[in-house]
């Protein structure tokens, strides 16, 4: 074959296989996708602009600086009807963070207790754990929220006949009333002592790890740390003369004044969220513990470890590898599910922003996207923290 012929045949192959070349195909497909998406978004944007003009909807974020004109049931920062929509946003955000944090706290506790209870030798405890998980996992969350709010909390007695626990905690149809801890001058020292205790404990932990790595000697970090974290504030309290007093809620007229009030909406939502998410966390804990082969326990016993050490050094660290990624997604879904607040009127971000503010301003696009962005960011933060935690428990491969 002459040089020319060979070139010709190469060209022919190249011609034939232009569409069969995966690289060219990929380029064409992606170009088509880009065209399609471009057309789709062009349509949406032009339709939206036309619709908004036709309906007289304003756009832009100016509304954030105008007065909202409505009051909010529960606010963590000062707020009234003259406050701006921007402040409404912050109030809602804080309420969302509050209910999510409290929900995550209780869900974790319930979940871990129930997950471990599954492995109890006691038949009753094991059954209770199974019944709890299978009951509450299979009932829609919104139904549980309604159940606690409309069937349980609405059946509580009126303020005058409220249930009282030691004349300091009151529970009635208006909510839960707790005594408030009020600090007097000097209370700052106690808070400072607490944080100082945390810092010292962290330092001791580092020192103990280093010493154990070098000499093999162990140091009781947990008990010393607890003693320091609790002892230092106690000492500071005694020195400054107990600078705290409790403000008890008192019945005045038709309701209670003073102290801390937990509104029934918050109670119902927290209980429902923690009980519902607790079932999934219990399942995660169960799966985690089951994922540790029994041989690990046997091996630990055969080298003479104590039962408690086996739990804390062998089982838990390995179970955590399975549990933490699952916890991550459960926490995220709890935050997302906290939007159900809007069904019972707890003023979370969704209720005050997508609910009330959207109704009043009509600026659907800005408000819905701002809200979505917030949940996105909260979930990214949770994900980031849990991934950091996960990295600390993950399997370290041989180097």
């Amino acid at each position: 074959m002459s040089q020319e012929q060979r070139n010709q045949s190469q060209v022919a192959t190249a011609n034939r296989s232009f569409f069969n070349n995966p690289r060219n195909r990929a380029l064409i497909y992606q170009f088509l996708l880009l065209l399609g998406l471009g057309y789709f978004f062009y349509n949406i944007v032009s339709n939206t602009l036309a619709n908004m003009e036709a309906r007289g909807i304003k756009s832009g974020f100016d509304f954030l600086f105008t007065a909202s004109g409505f009051d909010i049931l529960m606010t963590l920062i000062p707020y009234d009807a003259t406050s701006t929509y921007g402040r409404t946003f912050v109030v809602g955000l804080l309420n969302t963070i509050l209910v999510s944090a409290v929900g995550i706290f209780f869900a974790t506790i319930i979940g871990f207790i129930m997950g471990v209870a599954y492995f109890s030798r006691n038949w009753l405890i094991n059954r209770l754990s199974i019944i709890y998980v299978e009951t509450f996992r299979n009932i829609p969350l919104l139904l549980q929220v309604f159940f606690w709010y409309f069937a349980v909390l609405a059946a509580l007695p009126s303020p005058r006949e409220s249930m009282s626990f030691g004349e300091s905690i009151f529970l009635n149809v208006r909510g839960l009333f707790l005594p408030e801890v009020v600090g007097e001058p000097g209370s700052n020292w106690v808070v400072f002592a607490f944080f100082a205790g945390l810092g010292i404990t962290w330092y001791i932990k580092k020192w103990a790890k280093k010493r154990q790595d070098e000499t093999g000697e162990q140091f009781p970090v947990l008990s010393t740390g607890l003693a320091i974290i609790l002892g230092l504030p106690l000492l500071a309290m005694l020195i400054t003369g107990i600078p705290f007093y409790l403000e008890y809620p008192e019945l005045k007229g038709f309701s209670f004044r003073g102290g801390v009030t937990v509104i029934p909406e918050l109670m119902a939502l927290t209980v429902a969220l923690s009980v519902y998410t607790g079932t999934f966390i219990a399942e995660a804990v169960r799966a985690g513990i089951q994922s540790v082969p029994h041989g690990q326990t046997e091996a630990a016993r055969s080298i003479g470890m104590k039962e408690r050490k086996i739990m804390s050094l062998i089982i838990v660290p390995q179970a955590m590898r399975v549990i933490v990624p699952l916890l991550n997604s459960e926490y995220q879904s709890l935050v997302k599910n906290s939007t159900l607040a809007t069904a019972i009127g707890y003023p979370d971000l969704f209720t005050v922003f997508v609910g009330t503010s959207l109704n009043q301003t009509g600026q659907a696009i800005e408000i819905v996207f701002m809200t979505m962005a917030v949940y996105f960011v909260i979930n990214m933060i949770i994900s980031f923290l849990m991934n950091r935690f996960n990295a600390s428990v993950a399997l370290v491969e041989r180097k």
Partner: protein, 366 residues
């Protein structure tokens, strides 16, 4: 020679076998455990009699109106009087056979792959499956079939929850598979589009998506088009579901050994032949338990539609509770009924999923 006659075996010691042994081992193994057992038993003893008498013994079962509820216990008359609303919403009574028929067909479509001969399974079963949502919706609507027209405003009740959930997952199936394929493809642009889609629909609260469907989607359509509310909800549910299912499929892809791809390539199969004939069946098999779990989640989440004013079962319950003829505080009965209905469905599906998982489990761990 004396024959050896063994003595009859003595029964096991009463402390270790039989009911007493079981109780000792499982209820009172240690002092602390015994205390907990006694506490739990005492707790159960205080609540169970009251609960049983409220639920069954003192309850009112028969009657038509609230006046029939005279005793102390639960008023199940409330549930029976509203039963049709709970199940079918305000769908015209004469046309309810259409809903029942559609439910039966849904069951048949799900059962079809098991009943059809092997060579027809994919050719008939899959198109049936994919056509069901559209044909079913048209049938309930009635106009195309020459039946009486029933506007979607009248659709409701528990059957609506079932239809919305199944219609969404059926359409989400191919869509999410495409997204999952896109996510693992080598084409950078396609890949990033799929990642953004999946993460968006997974990361945003489903309520926000529903609001997007009810307040923002109308802005996206050309002026003057009026898209049915239920249709918008359906679109949102499909997209939401696809986001979650795509991640389930991604997990399934990860479980398929590389050798399967290589074997398909060496046979000279094209990309789509390889994906649809070799990989997809295995992916579905591996991810079946997770698909069911996702479906259970979607099914429970259909109650969230109450917030944007769709008359699914929970919303109907709320309406019934605030009805002026039934203002007797029947919240507990109503919610218990809805909870029972959901519980039976979801628990049943989770049993099926656990069963599949056990069948597929080929590990030698016990």
């Amino acid at each position: 020679m004396k024959e050896f006659k063994p003595l009859p075996a003595r029964p096991a010691p009463i402390q270790t076998a039989g009911p007493i042994g079981w109780i000792r081992n499982n209820l009172f193994p240690t002092p602390l455990n015994s205390l907990v057992t006694l506490l739990i038993l005492a707790f159960l003893a205080t609540i169970i009699p009251d609960l049983v008498s409220w639920l069954f013994i003192d309850a009112d079962w028969e009657g038509e109106t609230q006046a029939a509820c005279t005793s102390e216990g639960a008023c199940w008359v409330f549930v029976s009087a509203w039963m049709q609303q709970f199940l079918y919403g305000s769908y015209p009574t004469d046309e309810i056979w259409r809903i029942n028929l559609a439910i039966l067909v849904l069951g048949a479509v799900i059962a079809a792959p098991y009943l059809l001969p092997k060579d027809l399974r994919n050719k008939v079963g899959v198109p049936l499956f994919l056509a069901f949502p559209f044909v079913g919706a048209a049938f309930l609507d009635g106009r195309l079939f020459g039946l009486e027209f029933v506007s979607t405003d009248y659709w409701g009740g528990f059957t609506l929850n079932i239809f919305l959930a199944s219609a969404s997952i059926i359409i989400a199936f191919p869509l999410s598979f495409l997204w999952a394929l896109g996510r693992r493809s080598d084409m950078p642009f396609t890949k990033s589009v799929c990642i953004v889609l999946i993460e968006f629909f997974r990361g945003v609260p489903v309520l926000a998506l529903f609001f997007m469907g009810s307040v923002m989607l109308p802005l996206f359509f050309p002026e003057g088009t009026n898209v049915d509310k239920l249709l918008r909800v359906w679109i949102v549910l499909i997209l939401f579901m696809s986001g979650y299912m795509a991640e389930v499929f991604r997990g399934g892809f990860a479980a398929i050994p590389q050798g399967q791809y290589e074997a398909a390539d060496s046979l000279g199969l094209s990309y789509w032949q390889k994906t649809l004939l070799i990989i997809l069946p295995q992916v579905i098999k591996v991810s079946m338990p997770n698909i069911l779990a996702t479906f259970i989640m979607l099914f429970k989440n259909t109650t969230f539609l109450l917030i944007i004013g769709i008359f699914e079962i929970l919303s109907t319950t709320q309406t019934a509770l605030s009805n002026s003829n039934w203002l007797g505080g029947h919240a507990a009965e109503g919610y218990l009924f809805v909870a029972l209905v959901f519980w039976v469905c979801c628990f049943g599906m989770s049993l099926i999923s656990a069963n599949i998982e056990r069948k597929l489990d080929t590990s030698h761990r016990s």
